[in-house]
Symmetry: C2
Subunit: 141 residues, 2 copies
């Protein structure tokens, strides 16, 4: 639910792909430049994102990354859920913190944490990548 720098880079990279949708594969170096993300780090991140089925890449001369779905079909929630991975079943599911809660089954905070989590993902799930594409970019296309 809390988004690391890395996860924000991932979202921004997807937004960049959305901006250039329909113009063929986009090189990592272009995305890195446009979004001010360290190139080598972005390579790692995009590599991970391929596993989500949301993006794919082509190598060689006119290689690069591209979206596998339309920007309006990709929600922030689906990206975040993929990046954060499946929650560790050994940890208190409802806990906001990664550290584990010592009161496994009757944690007084459980309901609070789960309400917060739900509220956050409600917003993430109703926001698509298209919503994050700046208007200027849309006009340009």
């Amino acid at each position: 639910m809390y988004l690391t720098q890395r996860n924000q880079y991932a979202l921004r990279a997807i937004v960049e792909l959305a901006i250039r949708v329909g113009k063929g594969p986009v090189k990592v170096s272009e995305i890195a430049k446009a979004q001010a993300i360290p190139l080598r780090f972005l390579e790692v991140i995009l590599g991970q994102l391929k596993g989500s089925g949301l993006v794919d890449a082509k190598r060689g001369y006119h290689g690069g990354y591209f979206l596998l779905r339309q920007p309006e079909e990709i929600t922030v929630g689906s990206v975040v859920r993929y990046l954060q991975g499946e929650p560790d079943p050994k940890e208190c599911q409802s806990c906001i913190s990664k550290m584990q809660c010592p009161f496994k089954n009757d944690c007084a905070f459980a309901s609070l944490w789960s309400r917060v989590n739900t509220a956050v993902f409600n917003i993430y799930d109703e926001t698509t990548i298209k919503d994050l594409v700046p208007d200027k970019s849309v006009a340009r296309s």
Copy 2:
């Protein structure tokens, strides 16, 4: 908005004080034991909490910590806001991540982050410490 272990300890310590409200000062060692928090660490945390005006302490023989307000008058939001301190004005206010967003004024994510933040604090602000006190404890008092 993301709560560290330390911040959860702080909330749990306040809940423990709420459970024992009206029974005089509670020793740090008692709270530490009841909530399974490392003693020395808890001393630091409670020391910080004194600055919030929500709790105070007395030293010596029958010393310990106690609440300055009723549990139902203390919201989780007020505690969290105090613990997290005033946001650094140099950072992107709306950013969820602590790292700063490179697109200062026209960050496409700004609205998303601020909606998330608002949603989370709405929940925090409508939850009081009393809401977190387990029923069993209330019955006992």
